[in-house]
């Protein structure tokens, strides 16, 4: 169990001994507690978001108190212990909330010195404190540990805001690098994040969100739920409760995987979410959104300046919705007990959280404790608050502690996004080339993203509030004489909140791009141009320092740097002073970038190769911590500029995983050269965000320098860049690729008609043609007393088990809950649902009362005991050839298996398909009745394989095309490929689409383990078949492989001669695929490549039959459903040699549109010589219907 609990403030205030520093004599807000053992506990209302402030704050306390660093323990955020200092935002911790802490430490130090002086009989200024020991300076003959000074009684003193603090010149800890205290535990798995809290008796919860993913306001919100069908979870193990409050829906289970499964399966019906504007292209929706203008500055005369401009310039800059994209989806644990609520939460705002929970449950705030735990990094606000309230609702419902883990899809979908923004700038040059005017208008749709449960349960209004947050760094840093700055405040579109740099990033993108355009128009070096209008001396110093470090050379026009093959190089500059907080705001650290880029004119890829970044942070508490923050800002903002944009569907957020929202990867990370200006005598400034702010303009300016093309909308994805390069005549078109091979042209269109659709033809044909004459009626065979299992020898039963395995009986006849032979599995057809029957030994509902002759007739002729016809879903035409001995053994086996007395649901087809007797005519045409005849020219093994494949194994049922009447074709079409349950069953006759021939060894591996090194893994119904074959001895599997491989001899050549994998490594193929399907390429890189890229331990996708097939069915279905082979399929003794792999299902992670893009990319990338697939959308829609969700 892991149950972290901070002692409450009163524990410190009521301790027997020690020294505590509170806000005042009457205000018990606690800042510092010194303990008799010499330890110090310090309290801060802000929390550590991964920035290392836990360490920096401890440095400040240790410095001011003169105690060793490792004696200071920081308590951050936990509501029952720390001061209320508001949310951890806007880089304020060091700049704002650390101040009272430093004062408290100074006050305590002064008090300690006074006490010690009293003991020593001297004046305080004759004493000094070093490493927690107070000693007399001259003579050094007296010393006392501070722990001793606070022993014996508890003293409480009030924080003195005027108590002098140490001069910077006396600092020994602050300003030096300090190793973070949390990293050793994090590097060894000992640290407890909120995800790691485990309480006694804790249950696991999951939530189910409404369909308006990522939108939290509007009339429909909180009124969307139509129904929750609790029966949909009947029979699932471990379910404790289903909780519904308004539009809040959650499930609670004993185990996490049970809760996850329940959330997937729970049948929840919602109203259709209303259509939204296309926020994937945010410019128009933002312009169309009602807003109120707020003028922040209006100097000089802008209109007159614009009129006088010699060359007016009007530009618009568009910033997309982006996401925090925390690596760990949010998680929380809640515990209700006797009207008291305790939550373990990763919230950034513990006090807000406490208030929200009190509001949600209509309880006093002090009955709510928020234990703040670290979570995955967040750079604004993610779903940490939402999930905390979710856990509380579920815990209240079940009366036990509940842990709720959001899914990746929920975190991506519902986190409050960084808002999109549109900025218009009008300006121009005066006659001297200076800025004639600067008219800046910015549009920002933010909101406060109230905790979701409050809205979903109706506790707070679904009407969104408007915040004034678009004004961060809206005032440009340059001295423009005629300047007007307007912000258009507007209600939210998508759910949004602050995200690192808030509106300052888009605003600075516009400022710093526009001034670059002015410089370019004036034919002045952009750095020089800025310096003319910068007035802030610290800014000027910084610009000089950074450009000098980067070796900046003046440039007055683009494309002056060298070109190397297809690659153009360029460098750009940008500067910003991040001003945050309520307007006019507070300045954090100054930052400037020189970005070096390489633009590939063939692929459109932009590489940021190097960033020289300078920062003036004032006094740096922990310089190494500052350096790491700068690195983090540079890398994250580079990612945002090059790659990041939230995509939306018609109803909500579409980017629900890392393929739909790719972020920077290691190979793309630039070299970073950090210049930190030493300013030890200046106030410490927030460093958590500043270095992000110049990023976009620096990179865009560098791309302009490289290409002469100015991008004003982010992100700079390769397809967008390539299109612009083409327009500019700079794109390099690829060389036409020599084809590595050509597939034989399809000689025929294989019937896509399934068994079932073919039945339509059967019925029609039979009705019209009058096949009814073909003896449709058969007599019933009378029931018998169920045979005594003792009748059968163990050897017969064992043989029967193998026959059942070879026949894969339980693949179709398994119960819906997995009970063997219980029947009921539905086979959806256009005409109704065919249900597999119960074939257990139940007398009432199975085949327990069937005599052997009845059984044999059903197996060989498709006639049930009662004389009715079975549909040829039951592959009796194949079984007809089974040997008598095998059928008898199978009968014995079936009769000795458990009786399942639940009736399977009946097949209910509509007329005419419900007329079973029509099957008689069908049988007259197609049913076989011949026993299998071995081929004396072939080996015994081949013949054994032929027997298994052609009779018991009934491979042709799926792998042969069916004729118009639904019968498996014979002759040349035998095993020439068919369809089963929506999956394409590839040809086994050696003419399949696989680029590499199937060798006997590959077939053996595939049938035995579900995977073959050169071909990939079994999916869909075939994976169940492989599982069913597990009891067969190796000799039988080998025999089947021998038989099937003999077809390859007739077909194409064996694998080793094939050239296909060459395309795997062909740069031309890779680039061409990316050009053809750029969106699919991005999804592949983010969602698939971790397992499927070259060098991955599993079979190359180039070899996968599915990607070379005529239709994309199997690819689509595999993406939707995932694949368990070989992880779950290989027999235990075969597993050692296989990779431990399974493919997750992406049905709830990727939209149909995304899958379409992905499928197109896969085809182009891995089957480059095959024609593009047609009807991809229809295939996806069909498969989605079959798979659900």
């Amino acid at each position: 169990m892991t149950r972290p609990e901070e002692p409450s403030r009163s524990r410190y205030l009521e301790a027997a001994e020690g020294l505590v520093v509170t806000a005042s004599a009457t205000d018990p807000t606690l800042y510092l507690a010194l303990h008799p053992g010499g330890g110090v506990t310090a309290f801060n209302g802000h929390v550590d978001l991964g920035t290392g402030i836990r360490t920096a704050l401890a440095q400040i306390v240790a410095e001011e108190l003169d105690v060793p660093f490792d004696r200071v323990r920081m308590v951050l955020g936990s509501t029952q212990a720390v001061p209320d200092q508001g949310p951890t935002i806007a880089s304020e911790t060091i700049q704002v909330t650390a101040k009272p802490l430093r004062q408290a430490a100074a006050t305590a130090r002064r008090h300690l010195l006074a006490c010690a002086a009293h003991h020593a009989g001297c004046e305080p200024d004759e004493l000094e404190i070093v490493d927690g020991i107070v000693s007399r300076k001259h003579p050094a003959n007296w010393a006392i540990a501070i722990g001793e000074l606070v022993r014996g009684q508890l003293e409480r003193i009030a924080l003195d805001a005027d108590c002098p603090v140490k001069p910077v010149s006396a600092y020994r800890l602050v300003g030096t690098g300090q190793a973070r205290t949390d990293i050793p535990e994090k590097a060894t798995g000992r640290w407890a994040y909120v995800h790691d809290v485990r309480l006694h008796g804790m249950l696991h919860g999951r939530v189910i969100r409404p369909p308006h993913t990522g939108f939290d306001h509007g009339e429909h919100v909180a009124h969307n739920l139509l129904s929750v069908n609790e029966d949909s979870l009947a029979g699932l193990p471990g379910i404790v409760d289903i909780v519904v409050v308004g539009d809040f829906v959650g499930v609670v289970a004993e185990r996490e995987e049970q809760a996850a499964r329940a959330a997937d399966l729970l049948d929840v019906r919602w109203r259709k979410a209303p259509a939204i504007a296309d926020l994937s292209a945010p410019e128009d929706p933002l312009r169309d959104h009602p807003a109120s203008a707020r003028v922040l500055a209006d100097n000089g005369n802008v209109e007159r300046g614009l009129d006088a401009a010699s060359s007016p310039i009007a530009r618009s800059y568009v910033w997309p919705y982006q996401m925090h994209a925390s690596i760990g989806p949010s998680c929380a644990v809640a515990e209700w007990s006797e009207e008291r609520l305790t939550v373990w939460s990763g919230t950034q705002n513990p006090r807000f959280m406490q208030r929200d929970l009190a509001l949600l449950f209509d309880m006093p705030e002090d009955a709510v404790t928020v234990e703040r735990m670290e979570a995955a990094g967040c750079y604004g606000r993610n779903c940490a608050d939402d999930v905390t309230a979710d856990a509380a609702l579920l815990s209240q419902a079940v009366g036990r502690p509940v842990r709720v883990q959001l899914t990746r899809e929920q975190e991506h979908g519902w986190e409050p996004k960084g808002a999109a923004q549109v900025v218009d700038v009008r300006g121009g040059l005066d006659l001297e080339g200076g800025p004639a005017a600067y008219d800046f208008e910015t549009r920002y749709p933010s909101n406060l993203a109230p905790t979701l449960a409050l809205i979903l349960t109706g506790r707070v209004s679904n009407v969104a509030s408007v915040t004034h947050m678009g004004d961060r760094t809206a005032i440009p840093p340059y001295a423009f004489d005629n300047m007007r700055v307007t912000v258009h405040d507007m209600p939210p579109l998508a759910r949004a909140s602050w995200f690192r740099g808030v509106s300052a990033m888009p605003n600075s993108f516009a400022h710093e791009s526009f001034i670059d355009e002015l410089a370019s128009a004036a034919e002045v070096d952009p750095v020089e141009y800025r310096l003319r209008y910068l007035t802030d001396p610290r800014a000027i110093d910084l610009v000089h320092a950074v450009t000098e470090r980067a070796g900046w050379t003046p440039r007055t026009k683009p494309m002056t740097m060298e070109r190397e093959g297809d690659v153009l190089y360029g460098r750009g500059f940008a500067y910003a002073l991040y001003v945050h907080g309520t307007f006019p705001g507070t300045a954090a650290a100054w930052s400037a970038w020189v970005a070096d880029v390489a633009v590939n004119c063939r692929t459109g890829e932009i590489a940021v190769t190097r960033v020289t970044v300078g920062q003036d942070s004032g006094l740096m508490i922990n310089p190494e911590g500052v350096r790491h923050q700068i690195h983090g800002n540079v890398i994250q903002s580079t990612s945002r500029v090059l790659k990041e944009k939230v995509e939306f569907s018609q109803t909500g957020v579409e980017s629900l995983e890392w393929g739909g929202y790719p972020i920077i990867q290691f190979p793309e990370v630039p070299e970073i050269d950090v210049v930190m200006l030493p300013r030890p005598d200046e106030e410490p400034l927030g460093v958590g965000e500043s270095a992000s702010v110049p990023s976009a303009a620096a990179i865009v300016n560098a791309v302009f320098d490289a290409t002469g093309i100015r991008f004003r909308e982010l992100p700079l994805t390769p397809d967008k860049v390539l299109a612009a390069l083409r327009d500019a005549g700079l794109a390099r078109e690829p060389e036409p690729r020599a084809q590595t091979r050509s597939l034989p042209a399809p000689t025929r269109t294989k019937s896509r008609r399934s068994l079932f659709s073919s039945l339509a033809g059967v019925a029609g044909g039979l009705l019209a043609g009058g096949f009814l004459a073909a003896s449709p009626w058969h007599s019933a065979i009378r029931p018998i007393v169920k045979p005594d299992p003792a009748t059968y020898s163990a050897m017969t039963i064992a043989r029967g088990r193998e026959v059942a395995a070879a026949g894969a009986c339980d693949v179709c006849h398994t119960g819906v809950d997995g009970t063997p032979f219980a029947g009921g599995r539905a086979f959806e057809t256009p005409f109704g649902t065919v249900r597999a029957s119960n074939i257990s030994s139940s007398v009432e509902n199975g085949i327990g009362a069937w005599s052997y002759p009845a059984f044999e007739r059903a197996m060989r002729r498709g006639i049930s005991r009662d004389g009715s016809h079975l549909y040829p879903v039951h592959p009796y035409p194949s079984f007809a050839g089974t040997s008598d001995a095998d059928l008898q053994a199978l009968y014995a086996f079936m009769m000795t298996q458990r009786s399942i007395d639940t009736p399977a649901p009946k097949t209910a087809l509509s007329f005419p398909f419900n007329v079973r007797s029509l099957m008689a005519g069908w049988n007259a045409l197609f049913a076989g009745s011949q026993n299998f005849a071995p081929d004396p020219q072939r080996t015994e093994r081949w013949n054994r394989g032929a027997y298994l494949v052609e009779t018991l194994g009934h491979c042709s049922a799926c792998h042969s095309p069916r004729n118009a009447l639904g019968a498996s074709r014979t002759g040349a079409d035998h095993l020439a490929g068919g369809f089963a349950e929506g999956w394409h069953a590839p040809a086994l006759n050696g003419e399949g689409p696989s680029p590499i021939g199937w060798s006997e060894a590959a077939l053996y591996d595939y049938l035995r383990t579900g995977t073959a090194a050169d071909h990939g893994s079994a999916g869909g119904p075939m994976s169940s078949v492989v599982a069913s074959l597990a009891p067969l001895p190796d000799t039988d599997i080998r025999a089947m492989a021998t038989y099937l491989a003999s077809f390859s001899d007739r077909g194409r050549a064996q694998g080793s001669e094939m050239a296909v994998p060459a395309s795997d490594h062909s740069k031309a193929v890779i680039e061409q695929a990316a050009r053809e399907a750029p969106a699919g390429n991005r999804i592949f890189e983010g969602a698939c490549a971790s397992c499927h890229e070259n060098g991955a331990p599993i079979a190359s996708l180039s070899a996968h039959t599915a990607l070379h097939a005529e239709t994309p069915d199997n690819v689509v279905r595999t993406i939707l459903k995932g694949a368990t082979a070989p992880a779950l399929l290989a027999p235990e003794d075969k597993r050692g040699g296989l990779e431990v792999m399974a493919m997750p299902a992406f049905a709830k992670s990727l939209s149909d549109r995304q899958i379409g893009n992905l499928v197109r990319y896969l085809r182009a990338r891995y089957a480059p010589d095959a024609p593009s697939w047609q009807n991809v959308e229809e295939t996806i829609a069909q498969a989605r219907k079959a798979v659900g969700r």
């Binding site: 920035t51 640290w191 690596i327 760990g328 990094g377 190979p667 490549a1089 779950l1128």
Partner: protein, 165 residues
């Protein structure tokens, strides 16, 4: 899938558990064995936060069913080393202060460990490539790359000194 008895070997210890065979390995490690090292990140095998070593190869515990590792040794971050006996890769990450939030750290350490077992002297491109599908959102890449280089050096020195890992 119905539960059955499964035998697992994790960090050298044997465990017998009654589980549905398709339960994600990650869930079992975290909830049944109470190991905090491997983290839930995406459930789709994409981000790498859940990585563990199976037969010395880094795999994604969120996306593989527990039954797949029956009879195969699993090593988690905890099994590599503890605070008193750090694995060289862990030590390098600490020495380089290669964490901000630290949530991805597990995957980074597992991936670097696996890389160095295959290639004791990787160049920068090889390290970046090995870490390519391990996502870090805080932007700790520079420190992680430095740590990987440092770990490679430390492990080579140990090998020269004849120590056996």
């Amino acid at each position: 899938m119905p539960a059955r008895s499964l035998s697992l070997t994790v960090n050298g210890q044997s465990h017998l558990l009654d589980l549905a065979p398709d339960t994600p390995l990650l869930t079992v490690l975290r909830n049944d064995l109470e190991l905090n090292g491997p983290k839930f990140g995406c459930g789709l095998g994409a981000c790498g936060a859940c990585a563990v070593l199976v037969d010395d190869r880094a795999v994604r515990a969120c996306a593989i069913p527990v039954a797949a590792v029956e009879g195969r040794p699993v090593t988690t971050l905890e099994g590599l080393g503890g605070p008193d006996r750090l694995h060289p890769v862990q030590k390098a990450l600490i020495d380089e202060q290669a964490a901000q939030c630290g949530y991805c750290l597990n995957g980074m350490i597992i991936a670097v460990t696996s890389l160095l077992r295959r290639d004791p002297d990787p160049d920068d491109a090889a390290i970046r490539s090995a870490l390519r599908h391990h996502l870090c959102r805080c932007g700790t890449h520079v420190e992680i790359l430095n740590a990987a280089r440092r770990a490679a050096g430390a492990m080579r020195e140990r090998t020269h000194a004849g120590e056996v890992e």
